[in-house]
Amino acid sequence: MPEKIEVTLTINGETRRGLAEPRLLLADFLRHELGLMGAHIGCEHGVCGACTILIDGRTARSCLHFAVALDGAVIDTVEGLAGPDELHPIQEAFHQNHALQCGYCTSGFLLTTLEFLRRNPDPDEDEIRRALTNNLCRCTGYTNIVKAVAEAAAALRAAD
């Protein structure tokens, strides 16, 4: 078995180190080496979006990256969105709109929304639906997620 390699990442603003076998996926490195359980693993081949995180400020599938190939990268996960007793405005909007049931897909939707609203702070419904096409939710039927994203956009605009 190939040797483990030391990996250093900046995660949610903190320097974190760990050892990874080359085949260890970033999702598993976050969850099992670093104890960050926010990114979930659904399909493990890039389809569902449950494992979405940010790499260098942009969304990425953590199931489609090897931790060893990202040495030195800046990663943000859902854990970094807000302090332990607070909700980010996007989280608050999901909460208020019942935009989750089991929550398995939610961290992926939150980070996808974060990137989307940075690019497009005032989207219409069609734009929201397009932005979410690559995140799957098996519970909500999406309607409330779309509402939540619109409300989060308004809240973020008001806070600006």
Partner: protein, 286 residues
């Protein structure tokens, strides 16, 4: 599933990458953005022994003009190209095709050269490379060579790349100001895999089409040029009659494969409809 074990290296420059490729022969694979390769590794459909990351080779991260070409190095990520003014201005057809490649999260990481080197039969960028007269710049430890895009895609997931070689850059022909372009795709859902797509590029001079490039995805085992339709439009006005003749010519030569997503007859119908729309849209555009 999890990938099978492999060894990993990440050389800091192209020379180191080519050395590692030469040393590993058929067992070595290049890792750029990983958006095509890693899903297959996770499903264990591909099991490289050695993964050679180019992510530390900043020398491969360039988009620049060279004479008549817009050249894109192996580390240029799709999202960056999509956002680049240079791409919008010099190769609008490429800018039109890029949004169809995967989702935002895939484009943020996936590279242009990576998608081309992977050779998926329905990869949007392969059609873009064909209509932009792409020149594939292939590097190996013992030298370089270039292959025209048309000779690069040999079959599904099979390209002209040999063991020890990598696609170091692709040069797209710069589009002149009097060109009209369109890229249209149909899939089962937006940003999913394409069922069929059409890329068109028309060089218009004084109301006549001086040259035409038409490529299709889903019309054969790889992206392919539809020369019969190109010839009909060349040296002609692009009016309703010419468009109808071009579409009929295309219809007769499409060999659309059947798969889970669409049977061949349906694909052929979709392709001819997309071609007609693409030609009209290109002519209606600026």
């Amino acid at each position: 599933m999890k990938p099978a074990p492999f060894s990993f290296c990440a050389p800091g420059d192209l020379a180191g990458v080519l050395e590692a490729l030469a040393a590993n022969g058929e067992d070595g694979r290049i890792l750029a953005g990983g958006q095509s390769l890693v899903p297959l590794m996770n499903l264990r459909l591909v099991r490289p022994e050695m993964l050679i990351s180019i992510n530390r080779c900043s020398e491969l991260d360039y988009l620049r003009l060279e004479g008549d070409s817009l050249v894109c190095g192996a580390l240029v990520r799709q999202a960056r190209a999509e956002e680049s003014d240079l791409v919008q201005e010099e190769c609008p057809l490429l800018a039109m095709a890029l949004p169809y490649v995967g989702g935002q999260a895939n484009r943020n990481r996936g590279t242009i050269c990576g998608s081309l080197a992977h050779g998926d039969p329905l990869a949007e960028l392969s059609a873009a490379a064909l209509v932009l007269d792409g020149e594939m710049r292939i590097a190996a430890r013992d030298g370089q060579r270039t292959v025209a895009a048309e000779d690069f895609f040999l079959d599904g997931l099979t390209t002209a790349l040999q063991p020890g070689e990598m696609l170091a850059a692709v040069a797209f022909q710069r589009q002149g100001g009097d060109e009209r372009s369109a890229f249209l795709e149909m899939g089962n859902r937006e940003h999913g895999f394409a069922v069929a797509a059409v890329a068109t590029r028309l060089g218009m001079v004084g109301g006549r089409c001086e040259f035409a490039r038409i490529a299709m995805l889903g019309a054969g085992p790889t992206a392919r040029r539809i020369r019969a339709a190109e010839e009909i439009l060349t040296d002609s006005e692009v009016d309703d009659a010419a468009i109808e003749r071009a579409v009929t010519a295309a219809h007769d030569i499409i060999e659309a494969p059947s798969d889970l997503h669409a049977d061949g007859e349906f694909r052929r119908h979709v392709l001819t409809t997309l071609l007609e729309r693409a030609l009209r849209q290109a002519m209606a555009g600026e």
